[in-house]
Assembly symmetry: C2
Homo-oligomer: 370 residues x 2
């Protein structure tokens, strides 16, 4: 299968492009469905319908918010609702929401009657810079993250900044973690520019103009995806921070009343994987300390007991990127220079988690930790 | 998305190709799963393992036979079994069974961790000449046939005649209906050759050498699929006999203790659609009568009450190939010359079903009607 790339529109171009798309859609699609969750139904749908002329008789579908609902039961409900509303092969599904909504909406559209047209209108910073780009769709199989899904890019992605104004602070900050990761995939200079523009978490919270940062991130990610859509090799660089990050996220989902947001897990994962990068890939230690200090200044620090470390490494053994039961990570040689499939012993990962715990004193306890 | 074509091996080449594939698989795949249903587990697995050297530690998965089990619950069970057995992105799923098994197995493989390798070893005549070719995977959504699925061809299809010896007579005959359809898609001459080789149902039952007929059908179908993998146009010619056939099949599933087999539904659908072809596409009436007579000599005739006609046309209104609520059929101008998307009124379809009922006296009541 050769990958068909989605067309991604950012900035002012995005509004124009969405208007054009809706205009053409009238003759192209037999019916239009808008998929929302509780949050985007409440906060984003009115923005969408006030700024754009939605097709008459559009049908609104709503799912419950939250990763825990990104499962096959929700898919089955949506497929049945589409069928009950007479959706046919020429229907359109518009996904209005964050990463969870685009992941499940993209999967539902790609499998309904073997595939109907789908577009994404990502509403969170996280989905605008990351989840909506790259064609991965999927849902969780019980606790196994994204175990069921498909590579199926939407026809188009319309990235519109207005929706970011509806986001709570912690969601903005969570998305910013992927921006930091993209900077580390790009180069030293862009990373240092970011630290100047956003020296601390308040700078992220109160920033009003995200267009340039979003566009830069989209470019970095989509260049990687284009060269390796099916993750045979290069695309694995995008996993930086995520092997450890996903383990934190899964652990928190099971143990915390309010689970750790994805971006916060990734930020903490970056810290741990920077430590491993110094040990295994000779990443410069001074630069690593500088980056770690920056991450601690911007993101909430995730606390857990030393005794829980085996549980967290245990989760890593189930990462679906593993092979032959070995833990493989994407690590950094220097900013912009990554090594994928670095095999790592359980012991070294435990050591890195211990060093992570030692950072507790340097960390800010951000009030909006979630 | 550009379609990646599966490699199809038939005849003697198929055994050699499967041997080669299994040899290479040892280093290519981290684990091998063989999907069977109750029937193929009992009758086909021993043939497979005696003729071929299966990977050590292959894991056998079994599902219940029957179209009614081609649903998302079965998929979820299979995905969980794959995960429980540690299947990763480098695992292989071999589908050993008929069309139902390949449809569901192909879907499960294409969505597990966003796609693992999959090969088909079709064991019925129907799946060897039809279901295993063309990359359509899918499951039913309650009573809605193939409403959830993907276009996702397996890596390879190995068509091995030995498995046909395990088939009951009615399954052989059911598969033969697609052979007749392919002849009508091809040309007059091939159709008349078939009528000489298989003048009646006993000739089908007692035939021992299927290799040439299977190969011819595979060629006819795969040529159509290659020119239009996603059914935007030309591929719809394959629907000949199926719009009415599916309606018979669905009707029977709801109303008969032993539901009509797929091929028998298609054979009866061909009769009705030949009538419509004469009226709407000027198909030569004499030839139509000759073909109908042949179909009645070979396949069991499906009886229903005149009063049930509105129920059957009602089902056609839900065919997922429709658009704008209009019934569209693929009809014949002459053998090898088809017209797709012929819009047909409810009245004309009712008239054709009445004429079908008038054929009852000419029909054989085959003993193995199922």
């Amino acid at each position: 299968m050769i990958y068909h790339h989605e067309t991604i529109f950012t900035g002012k171009e995005a509004e124009k492009a969405l208007n054009n798309y809706l205009l053409k859609s009238a003759s192209r699609h037999s019916s239009t469905f808008i998929l929302t969750d509780q949050n985007t139904h409440k906060h984003c749908l009115s923005i969408l319908s006030s700024k754009f002329r939605l097709p008459e008789h559009s049908i609104i579908l709503e799912i419950e918010s939250g990763e825990v609902n990104k499962n096959l039961s929700t898919c089955i409900r949506l497929w049945k609702e589409l069928a009950a509303h007479g959706a046919d092969r020429h229907s359109l599904l518009m996904c209005l929401g964050g990463g969870m909504l685009c992941d499940i909406g993209g999967f539902v559209a790609s499998a309904y009657q073997r595939g109907i047209d789908c577009v994404y209108i990502p509403t969170t910073l996280l989905s605008q810079v990351d989840a909506s780009i790259g064609g991965k769709t999927g849902v969780n199989l019980d606790k196994l993250k994204n175990y069921v899904g498909f590579y199926s890019p939407p026809k188009s992605v319309f990235i519109i900044s207005d929706f970011l104004k509806t986001l709570p602070d912690n969601e903005m900050l969570s998305g910013y973690a992927e921006v930091v990761k993209h900077a580390l995939l790009s180069d030293d200079k862009y990373f240092h520019n970011l630290t100047k523009q956003f020296p601390n978490y308040e700078a992220v919270r109160f920033n009003e103009n995200w267009a340039d940062v979003v566009e830069r991130s989209v470019k970095i990610k989509s260049n990687v995806v284009k060269s390796d859509p099916y993750e045979h090799g290069l695309r694995k660089v995008l996993n930086l921070g995520h092997t450890v990050g996903h383990a934190f996220e899964s652990y928190s989902l099971e143990n915390d009343a309010v689970p750790l947001l994805h971006g916060f897990s990734v930020a903490m994962g970056l810290i741990v994987e920077l430590k491993l990068s110094v040990w295994l890939c000779r990443f410069p230690e001074m630069l690593s300390n500088e980056i770690i200090k920056y991450i601690l200044a911007v993101f909430p620090y995730y606390r857990f007991q030393k005794e829980e470390i085996p549980k967290i490494t245990g989760i890593m053994n189930f990462d679906k990127k593993n092979r032959d039961g070995k833990i493989r990570l994407t690590l950094l040689k220097k900013p912009g220079d990554l090594i994928t499939n670095v095999i790592c012993t359980q012991e070294l990962i435990e050591k890195s988690l211990l060093e992570y715990l030692d950072l507790a004193d340097e960390a800010n306890d951000l009030k909006f930790q979630s």
